[in-house]
Every structure is written in structure tokens, then in C-alpha cells.
């Protein structure tokens, strides 16, 4: 399975192998392994799933089943910035849907999609637990509380500008 992807990510594959070897002897290691792999690669393409299957002797079908069951695992590459809007109850009753609608308009993509320039992926997140700041949106690790749809363009511009400068 020597394809371009595998060659270009050699370092990540060897780190993943090291991780798998370190936990091989304990029970129920698939979830942790997938979490580690997603940390390393950003997503879980088939090549990575095949590699895990070979290293752990877990059938590829089982791995694919787990990857597609849990929302945090993704088989598609995400944008550089993950934009999330909390659609937990506390945020929803305080108008997070309007924030989401504004983001859909501003970024020109639907929930779950990535912009063409691979800069932003828009996600509806589950409750982040900071209901005191509702409605909340996040960009990567940054949390924006008490959001108003009107503030959306400003927040997005901040990350766009970062790219221009970089």
C-alpha cells in the first residue's frame, strides 16, 4: 500500500506504530488508537485505517464501523480552522441557531462542510459546558461567548487576516 499519502506521512505512521506498540497488551485499544491517529493526521483516511488494522489485527470492517459511528472521527480532511457553534439547549434557547445561519451565509457552506480554500470547516458542536456564556461559538481553541449574529463577520475576518499575514 505504498501510495503517495503513505510516503508523505511517514513520520506520523511511525509515531502511530510506536503508540500502538506501547498499548498493544492492554484491552480495548481501538478507540485510543483512533484518537491518537486523528491527532496525528487530522483525519482518518482509509490508508490510516488499513495501517491500524494491520498493526492491531482488528478487522478493517470493524475499524470502519467504529470510525463512522462516532461523530468525532472523520474520514475527510478538515479545514485549517474549525468553526463550531454550540447547539446545546442553553445556547439554542438563547439564539445560537441564528449565529449558525449567519455563519452558513458568511462562509458559503453548510454545516459539516469545508470551504473550497480549505480554510474553514463549519461544525455544530454539542454542549461545551460554558452555558454561562451562551450563545457560544468557537474557532479552534478560542471561545466567543454571548455571540450575536452581527459579530460573526468580524470573528471570521480575524482568522482570514491571520492567513494573509502568515
Amino acid at each position: 500500500m505504498q501510495n503517495e499519502f503513505v510516503q508523505s506521512r511517514e513520520k506520523e505512521f511511525s509515531e502511530l506504530k510506536e503508540y500502538i506498540d506501547s498499548i498493544k497488551n492492554s484491552q480495548g485499544i481501538l478507540m485510543q488508537t483512533l484518537q491518537k491517529a486523528q491527532d496525528l493526521f487530522g483525519y482518518l483516511p482509509l490508508e490510516v485505517q488499513k495501517f491500524i488494522s494491520e498493526e492491531t489485527n482488528i478487522p478493517l470492517a470493524d475499524i470502519y464501523g467504529v470510525v463512522t459511528f462516532y461523530t468525532q472521527f472523520t474520514i475527510e480532511e478538515k479545514g485549517r480552522h474549525k468553526v463550531g457553534v454550540c447547539l446545546g439547549t442553553a445556547c439554542y434557547v438563547k439564539g445560537s441557531q441564528e449565529v449558525m445561519d449567519k455563519l452558513v451565509e458568511e462562509l458559503g457552506i453548510n454545516v459539516g462542510q469545508t470551504t473550497e480554500d480549505k480554510l474553514f470547516t463549519l461544525e455544530a458542536t454539542r454542549c461545551l459546558g460554558c452555558c454561562g456564556l451562551a450563545p457560544v461559538m468557537t474557532v479552534d481553541e478560542d471561545v466567543y461567548g454571548n455571540m450575536d449574529p452581527k459579530k460573526v463577520p468580524e470573528v471570521i475576518a480575524k482568522y482570514k487576516n491571520q492567513e494573509v499575514r502568515a
Binding site: Q27, G28, I29, L30, M31, Q32, L34, Q35, I58, D62, G65, V66, F69, Y70, T71, Q72, F73, L87, G88, T89, A90, C91, Y92, V93, K94, T125, R126, C127, L128, G129, C130, C131, G132, L133, A134, V136, V143, G145, K150
Partner: protein, 609 residues
């Protein structure tokens, strides 16, 4: 750590000269650094405080982080404890104010320009009783010594001096019931697993807090992680388990980090590991991360997930106490349940029963959110009424809006009305009125929230989160959702309401696990208590809360319109006509109801109906 005497010495050493939570005559500055505090900007405050104290060489001042202080609305919060003085609580602190706080301490002079509140005297705390949260917002969760100073691990020491049967009997007598939602007696659960013979048994902590709008468990894990570890060890001793797992949501990185630190510290002191307190009892704990599946809060699904499989629930029996994780006898307790246990062992069953009611002893933590003045984390004795929590503690709905409903139990619970406000909070009473205790999310809604849309919101959630194993839940909830979508789009009929209700009852009766069995609750409770709103949507084609877009019309009030042209310029479909200084008109045929005109009008001339 060889014995409980050694632990006591360590505790006393740490508490020497301690007064009013400040030790050795030090002034102690604590910063609320749970997820909510950090999101509100506590990190720069914490860094500034440390820098300022260092620069000013204030050797008697200690700056520490702590967990959730409870009043989310006032974050970031900084509290100052000084010997012989009342605690001072500073609210909405930023880096600038942090500098001033240090100056205040240095000059020993109060600066009235900094916002502070007498928190302990406020109604917010007066009606509360902190058992599960006793250390949250007070101790540094990343320092085991602070937990030990508060009698930490004494419960484990005491339990190990009793027989496992005595520990279980004590738990049974305390009447503690599962705080995860269903309210199953904890002592009973333990007693089912204890007699089973097996080469390995497991204690599992359910920290997969999935209810959207609930953050009690997160606050406990972030604020007092050792309490959970201690309780798991006690449970392990009681049922004969030597291994524990904490299954925690991946969305809680701070909680995961603090748990890892706590486990490491407990191992170093020998409070986890082999031969704890020289008693021959071994116990160790590992954390396992979820990956964003609500159904994994259901115990059989949770165990599947720890085993590395798709988190799908299965039929019970066999119950986990007989066949649990990897087929071995297991006990699964929720975070808040566990946080009560060390104190029950220390204080005794009678002490615990002195709070709460006969059938529901103790306290319950609620995450109070939504349209409420004091969003926060509150812990009240069971039997407190909803009114006391929402009005006395929560301060009612903000902006002078009228209270409409309170939702407890998240996607499994129901919406209650103002007529239920005097219901005492107990497992049975909430169930009787069509809601449930649930894990502790309590979301308040005001007149602007459409109850049909709220039912649709929860169904949307459960459809997404159904594991797909059983048909009633997989297909039934989806059908219910499409009916609700039809109603909120203004296309519903009275027959739809009947079908919705009968479908809801079928899903409730025939689903495999708790998720499906409770998923219809938000629909059934709103159908029962807010039928008129459904009828308004179906018959009058109106949304009384003015929320459902399809049922709204926008109109410009000629008397208020000044003809500023702003709305016409902001309209994305150019459907507003009018000339400068003359009243404008919206062409309803073309209007897409985006609401732009409504939000930009400075004269309140655009009216939503």
C-alpha cells in the same frame, strides 16, 4: 502512605495555622479556572496575578487556580481569602482589574472602583447546600495536598477498616440514588455485584455527560477530581474490584487533564495502586475518552465503547452487575453519585439523610441555564421547589421577560410550566408530572421560546444520536421529527398531532434502551402542557412566540417609520419599497423572512407578527 495515621499527619501538617481557608497566615488568591472561567478569560487574569505578586515580592500571597465557583454569569471570578477577614469576591475580572486587586492587597486598602459582590450573603448561595461540590471553587484541583487537607481519602481509609458488607450496608442506609438520571439506589447496585465470583470485576465512572446544557459532572471533575477517584476505590473495595475506568467525554479536555494529574498524584502517594493503606487491597484507575456519541451515556453502550466497539446498547438482563465490561461483573456510577460517597462514609448515613427528603435523600446539583439571570451551577437539598431554584437562586428571567417553561432532564425530560413551580424536586415528583430528574440540566425558557420548536430541537438531537439498533428509536424518532418539522413549517394538520402523540407513546413503550424510551418525553410533555401552541401552529398558522420563520410576517408600522431607508438597503432580496423620509412598505410576496430589517431598524418600526 502506609496507614491512615500517616494520612492524618499529612492533613494536620497541612492545616496547621490554617484559618479561614488561608494557610500559614498567607493571603490566598483563587481564580476560578474551570472550562467556563477559562472561556470567559481567566487565564490572562491568573497569569497577571502571578506576575504582579512576583514583581511586588509579596511573599505572603499565594495565587492558585480552582474549579467552578458556580456563578457563571460573573466569570472570570477571583476570590481573596485573608486570615481574620471575610472572603472578597471580585467579578468580571480582566488583566487590568487583576493588577488593581494585587495593589489593593499590597496597600491593604479597598479600591471601590473594582467590581465585587458579597457572594456568600447573596440569595444565590443561601439556599444551597454543597455536598458533591463541597471543594469545587475552593481547593486547587491539581494539588492532592489541598484535597487531603479537606479530609480527602479519609473516607477510603475508614472504608478499608470496615468489611465490604458493612460498606455496602452503610451505602444502602444512606439512601443515595444514582444522580445520572434514573435514580437507582447505589448501595443496591453494589450489593448485586458484590457476591458474584469472578477473576476480575470493574468499577466504571460514567462521565459521558451528554445532556446538552448540563455541566455538573464536568465541574466536579475539573474542581474536585480526587473525590471521584476516592469514591471509585471505595466502591472497588465494596464489590471486590481492583480496576476502574473513567469514561469521559472528549469534549472536556480540562477535565481529562485534571483527572490524569489526580490519578498520577494518588498513585505517587500510594492512595491508588497495590496494597493501599497496607490493607492488602489493590485498586487502579484508567481514563477512557468518548468520541462524541450521546448514547454512550447508557451503561451497556458505554461498556461497548470502552471495549473499543460501536457504542450500541443491548438488552438487559444480563445487568452489568452480572455481565458487564468484557463479560465481568461491573458497577457503573455517575460522577456526581461518586462525589457524594467519601462524605457518606465519613459522615455516616444519618448525616446524609439529614438533607433532602425521605425518598430522595441528599442534595442534587443542577446546571441552571437558558433564560435565567444567574446562570450557574447550584446544589440544593432534594425537596427544594423549582420556584426556589429558578427565582430565589436563579433570579428569574432577565430583561423583564415572562417565564414560560423549565426543562429538566435534557432530551429525556420534559418541559414544565409555571403551574409546576411549586413541585418539590424529587425523582418521583418530577416523573409524576411528565419530566424527570435527569442528570441535572435545568433550562429556563421565556415567552420568546416556541415550545413546538423546542420539541423539534430535542427530537433533532435524538434522531442524530440514536445508535440505530432498534427500529422504534431509529425510525420512530425520525418520523416524529418530520411531523414536527411539518408543524413548524406551517403545514401541520390536527391529524398530525394525533399521529405524533400515538407515535410518541409507541416509541416510549417499545425502544430498547433509555435513549429511545425517554426520547418522546419532550414531545409528550409539550403536547400536554402547551397544546394551545401546537394548535396555533396547525390551525391559526401562527407561532405565538414569534419564533417559527415560516409562520411570521414582517410589516412596517407607518407611524413609526421615518423613511431612513436603512431597511431597504439591508434587504437581501430588495423587497422593501419607499423613498427618503416617507414610510416604507415590505412586499410580503417577495419577503424571505430573514429578519434583517427587523434587527437593523432603529425606530422599532418593523413589526414581527
Amino acid at each position: 502512605m502506609k496507614s491512615i495515621d500517616e494520612l492524618k499527619m499529612l492533613r494536620d501538617e497541612f492545616n496547621k495555622n490554617s484559618k479561614n481557608d488561608s494557610r500559614d497566615n498567607e493571603i490566598r488568591i483563587v481564580v476560578g479556572m474551570a472550562t467556563c472561567g477559562i472561556s470567559a478569560g481567566a487565564k490572562p487574569v491568573f497569569d497577571t496575578l502571578i506576575k504582579e505578586v512576583e514583581e511586588k515580592r509579596l511573599n505572603n500571597v499565594q495565587v492558585v487556580q480552582t474549579g467552578c465557583i458556580g456563578m457563571c454569569t460573573y466569570e472570570p471570578i477571583v476570590e481573596v481569602y485573608a486570615p481574620d477577614e471575610e472572603k472578597v469576591t471580585y467579578t468580571h475580572v480582566n488583566a487590568d482589574k487583576a493588577k488593581k486587586i494585587v495593589e489593593e492587597i499590597e496597600k491593604k486598602k479597598q479600591d471601590d472602583s473594582i467590581e465585587k459582590i458579597p457572594l456568600m450573603d447573596s440569595q444565590f448561595y443561601k439556599k444551597q447546600k454543597r455536598v458533591a461540590l463541597r471543594n469545587c471553587g475552593i481547593i486547587d484541583p491539581e494539588n492532592i495536598n489541598e484535597y487531603i487537607a479537606k479530609d480527602g481519602y479519609m473516607g477510603l481509609g475508614k472504608a478499608l477498616s470496615m468489611t465490604p458488607d458493612e460498606v455496602i450496608a452503610l451505602m444502602k442506609n444512606s439512601g443515595l440514588r444514582g444522580r445520572g438520571g434514573a435514580g437507582f439506589p447505589t448501595g443496591m447496585k453494589w450489593s448485586f455485584a458484590a457476591p458474584n465470583k469472578a477473576d476480575q470485576k470493574y468499577i466504571i465512572c460514567n462521565a459521558d455527560e451528554g445532556d446538552p446544557g448540563a455541566f455538573m459532572d464536568r465541574s466536579v471533575l475539573e474542581g474536585d477530581p480526587h473525590a471521584v477517584l476516592e469514591a471509585m476505590a471505595i466502591a472497588g473495595y465494596a464489590i471486590g474490584a481492583t480496576k476502574g475506568f473513567i469514561y469521559v467525554r472528549a469534549e472536556y479536555p480540562v477535565a481529562v487533564k485534571r483527572l490524569e494529574i489526580a490519578i498520577k498524584q494518588a498513585r505517587e502517594l500510594g492512595l491508588l495502586g497495590k496494597n493501599i493503606f497496607n490493607s492488602g487491597f489493590d485498586f487502579d484507575i484508567e481514563t477512557r475518552l468518548g468520541a462524541g456519541a450521546f448514547v454512550c451515556g447508557e451503561e451497556t453502550a458505554l461498556m461497548q465503547s470502552i471495549e473499543g466497539k460501536r457504542g450500541m446498547s443491548r438488552v438487559k438482563p444480563p445487568f452489568p452487575a452480572n455481565k458487564g465490561l468484557w463479560g465481568k461483573p461491573s458497577v457503573i456510577n455517575n460522577v456526581e453519585t461518586l462525589a457524594n460517597i467519601p462524605q457518606i462514609i465519613n459522615g455516616g448515613a444519618e448525616w446524609f439523610r439529614s438533607f433532602g427528603t425521605e425518598k430522595s435523600p441528599g442534595t442534587k446539583v443542577f446546571a441552571l441555564g437558558g433564560k435565567i439571570t444567574n446562570t450557574g451551577l447550584v446544589e440544593v437539598p432534594m425537596g427544594t421547589t423549582l420556584r426556589e431554584v429558578i427565582y430565589d437562586i436563579g433570579g428569574g428571567c432577565p430583561n423583564g421577560k415572562k417565564f414560560k417553561a423549565v426543562q429538566t432532564g435534557g432530551p429525556s425530560g420534559g418541559c414544565l410550566t409555571k403551574d409546576h413551580l411549586d413541585t418539590p424536586i424529587e425523582y418521583e415528583t418530577l416523573m409524576a408530572v411528565g419530566s424527570m430528574m435527569g442528570s441535572g440540566g435545568m433550562i429556563v425558557m421565556d415567552e420568546d421560546n416556541c415550545m413546538v420548536d423546542i420539541a423539534r430541537f430535542f427530537l433533532d438531537f435524538t434522531v442524530d444520536e440514536s445508535c440505530g439498533k432498534c427500529t422504534p428509536c431509529r425510525v420512530g424518532t425520525r418520523r416524529m421529527l418530520s411531523i414536527l418539522e411539518k408543524i413548524t413549517a406551517g403545514e401541520g394538520t390536527m391529524e398530525d398531532l394525533e399521529e405524533l402523540e400515538s407515535l410518541a407513546n409507541s416509541v416510549k413503550d417499545s425502544s430498547l434502551c433509555g435513549l429511545g424510551q425517554t426520547a418522546p418525553n419532550p414531545v409528550l410533555s409539550t403536547l400536554k402542557y402547551f397544546k394551545d401552541e401546537y394548535i396555533a401552529h396547525v390551525v391559526d398558522k401562527k407561532c405565538p412566540a414569534k419564533h417559527c420563520k415560516a409562520l411570521l410576517t414582517y410589516e412596517i408600522n407607518k407611524d413609526k417609520c421615518t423613511g431612513c431607508t436603512l431597511c431597504a438597503r439591508k434587504c437581501p432580496v430588495q423587497c422593501i419599497d419607499g423613498t427618503v423620509k416617507n414610510p416604507h412598505v415590505i412586499n410580503k410576496e417577495l419577503c424571505i423572512k430573514c429578519g434583517n430589517c427587523f434587527s437593523v431598524c432603529r425606530f422599532g418600526a418593523v413589526e414581527k407578527n
